[in-house]
């Protein structure tokens, strides 16, 4: 499969990249590792005028340890992230999520953390070759006005499939977006719009530069669960990240986040409210499963390689397992 024609820029600094982004906007997507973008270009899901490669920008790579947080530059490769001593010490949940993501030879050396967070939302009816798609009508993302997966839907229901997304949401990460007017920070939960056709709150002239992960205030217990078909090449059918910090015998802080359900990660506020301040109890496992099922029933649609019913059922399974492991319940 050939790539469409485009111009190529490989600026040396972030300022140069921002200048190019300011001039070209959405006509020039960012190329970090390319493991998502290049496939999408081959499928003609977009045909940009140019691409802006991050390969020469040293300031986009590396991990900085600050007293209260870890700052991961968006262009840091997956393999460098999991090999970093500070990440391994403070956030083993992130290591687990990255290690369960794809295959070494596909994503780990080329793929980046920022790229995983900005993974284009996926849909079984969209992520196909141009030839395949010509057999279907157009959808919200291909110039049409309907969603092929959900009749009557006013926006695209494609799935936010990044493995690290629920993990960073559970860790309350903040993202730095650099633009012509300077840098701004957004909580990661606000980064995802819930609309597949415009999935991120990032302006066309902005670049995601850093992911700031606050170091937990107490001993963090955690769990990451991923349910998929063939781990090495398949995106998750559903994944769940759970973090908890005990405080004087009760659950002081709690987060349960489901990923790969709909266009944005699902934060289980109901579980958070129900479990915080209580002693860990085995009934919480069943409760979390029921809450997860209720939460995703209206979100999951028929647009992945497994049926809606199966994914809803697996959301409950992933939530149960994640809560069980994170709270060390039997």
């Amino acid at each position: 499969m050939r790539l469409p024609q485009f111009d190529y820029h490989a600026p040396e600094t972030l300022d140069e990249a921002l200048k190019l982004k300011g001039e070209l906007g959405s006509a020039a997507p960012i190329l970090a590792g390319g493991t998502d973008l290049v496939v999408n270009l081959k499928h003609r899901l977009s045909s940009p005028a140019a691409i802006i490669s991050l390969r020469n920008i040293k300031e986009m790579r590396g991990i900085e340890v600050k007293p209260d947080a870890l700052v991961i530059r968006a262009g840091t490769s997956l393999v460098e992230t999991v090999g970093n001593a500070a990440v391994r010490e403070h956030f083993p949940i992130l290591v687990k999520a990255v290690e369960s993501l794809g295959a070494m030879g596909i994503q780990h050396y080329r793929g980046t953390i920022g790229g995983n967070l900005c993974l284009t939302p996926r849909c079984l009816l969209y992520n196909q070759s141009h030839f395949w798609r010509t057999g279907k009508g157009s959808c919200h993302r291909t110039g049409g006005r309907e969603c092929l997966a959900l009749e009557g839907s006013e926006s695209c229901q494609a799935i936010c499939s990044g493995d690290t997304v629920p993990v960073f949401v559970a860790l309350s990460a903040q993202l730095t977006l650099a633009g012509p007017g300077g840098k701004r920070m957004v909580p990661i939960s606000d980064f995802y719009t819930g609309k597949g056709e415009s999935p991120f709150t990032i302006a066309p002239d902005e670049i995601l530069t850093d992911i700031r992960v606050p170091i937990p205030w107490g001993p963090l217990s955690w769990s990451y669960r991923r349910i998929g078909i063939r781990a090495a090449v398949d995106f998750p059918l559903i994944n769940a990240a759970c973090t908890a910090i005990p405080d004087k015998g009760v659950i002081g802080s709690f987060r349960l986040v489901l990923g790969a359900a709909g266009p944005s990660p699902v934060i289980m506020r109901e579980a958070e409210t129900a479990f915080k301040g209580k002693e860990p109890d085995p009934t919480m496992v069943t409760m979390a499963g029921e809450m997860a099922k209720r939460a995703v029933e209206g979100i999951i649609v028929e647009n992945a390689s497994a049926s809606k019913d199966y994914r809803v059922k697996m959301a409950a399974v992933a939530a149960r397992r994640a809560v069980q492991e994170a709270l060390a319940l039997s």
């Binding site: 499969m1 050939r2 790539l3 469409p4 024609q5 485009f6 111009d7 190529y8 490989a10 190329l31 390319g34 493991t35 290049v38 496939v39 081959k42 499928h43 691409i51 490669s53 390969r55 393999v79 794809g102 295959a103 070494m104 030879g105 596909i106 050396y109 080329r110 781990a231 090495a232 090449v233």
Partner: protein, 165 residues
Amino acid sequence: MKKHLLSMTVNGDVVDVAVEPNTTLLEVLRDDMALLGVKEGCSEGVCGACTVLMNGNPIRSCLTPALEADGTEILTIEGLASDGKLHPVQEAFVKSGAIQCGFCTPGMILSTKALLDRTPSPSDEEIKNALAGNFCRCTGYTKILDAVRAASNGGSAKVDVHRKE
């Protein structure tokens, strides 16, 4: 579209090629340099047939725009044997019968080399993890695992490569 100059080291030789930005590394290696051991399978990063080593790391040449390889060292299957002698990993694949049609073999061998360079005595789990992104539709993988074990440090003693099943 305007061509850009790409300068990289391929199998030990410095090469300069003028390429259009939409050329993949796979296309440069196969079409411009006639390195036909780099196979185009799925062309979308799933099957692993196009694996080459970039600075010692296994990557998908079909997913890598050629210009991203500027200044890097690329190793393809053609660069493994030296002085007419096969590389030990190649030797192990031959002796273990880990080849049927051979289409996935260059990618398998390069992924194995990258693994063994880092972890000379990998566990079965580590082998499976390292080769998880390389598909073989013929062998059922058993012989390939045998070959990797045979190529690893002290592995040859554990595997009877001539066994009959």
